[in-house]
């Protein structure tokens, strides 16, 4: 078994053995495969990239071709224990509605996204006067799939407004590494966050 990407390694710790998961934008299905093999977890992944979908099938995980922007109405209330979405929140049409959907289907949800409040991003805009680009955000403003960038603070305010409870938050750099120093000022120093949330 190959080592899990660092953010997935954090996520898997929050998934209970023997539970049911739904992974939105599941990529090649590495997380589902790991959870299936190591934690006896059952579930489905949703993916729209053809190559990634085929890779999921090769990985022996259940994958369904479905666009997150078309909603999740085909999944029943409380049909999953945990709904997971890694690095896709900022790319969907209505992140707020999708969050509601995730917590309708799952008792808990795990969300990761890039922090637009990262200090380099802030300085890029401040000094260059242009929409920030970086290794994490390599796109031009006009062709980026990331149409709803937010900061950690934005996300937490949205959760508060929606009555969503944050169970846990882990902040990392762009290599998905945790450093004690990020904790000094996470909203400024963290590039990616993993949030574990639930309905209040």
């Amino acid at each position: 078994m190959t080592a899990l990407r660092a953010d997935l390694a954090i996520i898997q710790k929050w998934v209970k053995p023997g539970s049911q998961v739904l992974d939105l934008g599941c990529g090649e299905g590495q997380l589902l495969k790991y959870l299936q093999e190591e934690k006896n977890v059952r579930g489905y992944g949703l993916e729209i990239n053809p190559e990634k979908l085929t890779a999921c099938i090769r990985n022996g995980v259940n994958v369904i071709e479905q666009n997150l922007d078309n909603g999740l109405g085909n999944f029943a209330d409380n049909s999953s224990d945990t709904v997971i979405m890694t690095q896709a929140l900022q790319a969907v049409k209505r992140p707020d509605e999708l969050l509601d959907e995730m917590l309708r289907i799952g008792k808990e949800a795990i969300v990761t996204f890039p922090n637009f409040g990262y200090w380099k991003t802030r300085f890029y805009l401040l000094l260059k006067g242009r929409m920030p680009m970086s290794d994490t955000l390599p796109y031009n403003w006009y062709d980026t799939p990331n149409i709803h960038m937010c900061t950690f603070r934005d996300f937490e305010i949205l959760c508060h407004e929606k009555g969503i409870r944050i169970l846990n938050r882990t902040v990392m750099d762009d290599q998905h590494q945790q450093h004690w120093s990020i904790g000094l000022w996470p909203g400024m120093l963290g590039e990616i966050a993993v949030y574990h949330i639930t309905r209040r």
């Binding site: 489905y44 979908l53 999944f75 049909s79």
Partner: protein, 387 residues
């Protein structure tokens, strides 16, 4: 006609026939006292009989799914694209069984067979079969071949309906179900198309209420019309535009009602070819089986409850421009399987070829299908023959 048999072909194949003496009670209540099933097999059955794949054919298909019957045969079997050594359904790994369904016209007992009770051809008196009758007869063939559990049952269109039926009728007898370009039941529009096709046949003066053999004739015009209608519903607008556009056979209009556009002569050719090879009563019967199929009806129209009986894993595949068996219909199956907490994967393949796509070598389709079949081999503990 192949000068040389391609290396990835199953090669020359010979159909086999099994005669069944045990009566088969059909959904209609009628009983077939005895019958034949004609079938082909590709690959070798392994010692523990765990590598068998059943292929279920669609409306106009038959047992000849792969390879060649002779060096004179122009085209290989209807699903040669997917069945053969190293192909999607790898005959180096799997033992593949493909049969002609009851009521067919390619060797299994059907309307063109002799009714042992009357000594004459069954004709229109051959009982209309339902999908479940085919599945029951396929299960008996499995018994004869010593196959307790299929590694997978695979089919497209009407074949996919047989696969669904297998999963709920004999849940313990298959490990995987591959349902391609299919639906949990026909829509009113689909039934309507079938009825127009049947009427075209029935209204042909040569049909004689199905007794055309006794009149030494064939309802060729009716069958041709039925096929032309069917065929154009299997294509997409895009596919027809690409293939024919508004191209004319001649330079200019000749202001007659003879076929002038290429698309017209294509349809004529397809209809003509079909009307000489296929039996009209079989066509009527097969379209009825399509219309009747609705496994959820016995569960208060609850497809989730219906599929809850299934024990196998599923792959469901649809094609973007298939409007006869649209992606939404496949998604009904997928959603019901998800609600029933079954293992299922689903791919909607981009294609311009309409319903016909399921028979074509579309790279992404073959990739997905191959990935799944390799997984079938893994989960069934089959080794060798794969990369």
């Amino acid at each position: 006609m192949p000068d040389v048999i391609p290396e990835n072909s199953v090669g020359l194949v010979t159909p086999k026939t099994h005669h069944f003496d045990e009566p088969l009670t059909l959904r209609s209540g009628r009983v077939l006292k005895e019958y034949d099933l004609v079938y082909e097999t590709y690959g070798e059955l392994n010692a523990d009989r765990s590598n068998a794949i059943l292929i279920c054919h669609a409306l106009s298909g038959d047992h000849h799914a792969a390879g060649y019957h002779s060096m004179d045969e122009k085209k290989p079997g209807w699903w040669d694209t997917c069945i053969g050594p190293g192909k999607v359904i790898d005959t180096n790994v799997f033992y593949v069984v493909s049969l002609n369904n009851l009521g067919g016209c390619s060797g299994s007992t059907g309307p063109t067979s002799i009714n042992p009770e009357t000594g004459k051809v069954y004709g229109p008196e051959f009982p209309i079969c339902a999908v479940r009758d085919w599945v029951n007869s396929q299960a008996r063939l499995a018994d004869v071949l010593g196959i307790d559990v299929w590694a997978a049952v695979v089919g497209g269109s009407l074949g996919g309906m047989q696969v669904l039926r297998w999963s709920i009728q004999f849940p313990e007898r298959l490990k995987h179900a591959v349902v391609i370009a299919s639906a949990p039941k026909l829509s009113a529009q689909n039934i309507a198309f079938n009825e127009v096709a049947r009427q075209a046949i029935a209204k042909d003066p040569d049909f004689h209420d199905g007794w055309y053999h006794e009149h030494n004739t064939l309802p060729k015009a009716g069958l041709m019309q039925a096929r032309m209608l069917g065929h154009l519903t299997y294509l997409s607008d895009d596919a027809m535009k690409q293939k024919f556009g508004r191209e004319l056979r001649a330079e200019e209009f000749n202001f007659s009602f003879a076929p002038e556009f290429q698309v017209e002569s294509y349809l004529h050719y397809q209809g003509e070819k079909f009307s000489t090879r296929f039996d009209a009563n079989t066509y009527m019967l097969m379209t009825k089986a399509l219309d009747y199929f609705d496994p959820a009806a016995a569960y208060g129209d609850d497809l989730v409850a219906c599929l809850s009986n299934a024990q196998c894993r599923f792959l469901v595949v649809s094609f973007t421009t298939d409007w006869r068996f649209a992606p939404e219909r496949s998604e009904e199956i997928v959603n019901a399987l998800v609600h029933a907490d079954k293992d299922v994967s689903y791919a909607c393949i981009e294609s311009t070829s309409g319903h016909d796509a399921f028979l074509l070598p579309i790279p992404r389709y073959l990739d997905v299908f191959k990935a799944y079949m390799d997984g079938v081999a893994d989960r069934c503990g089959l080794s060798g023959g794969q990369s």
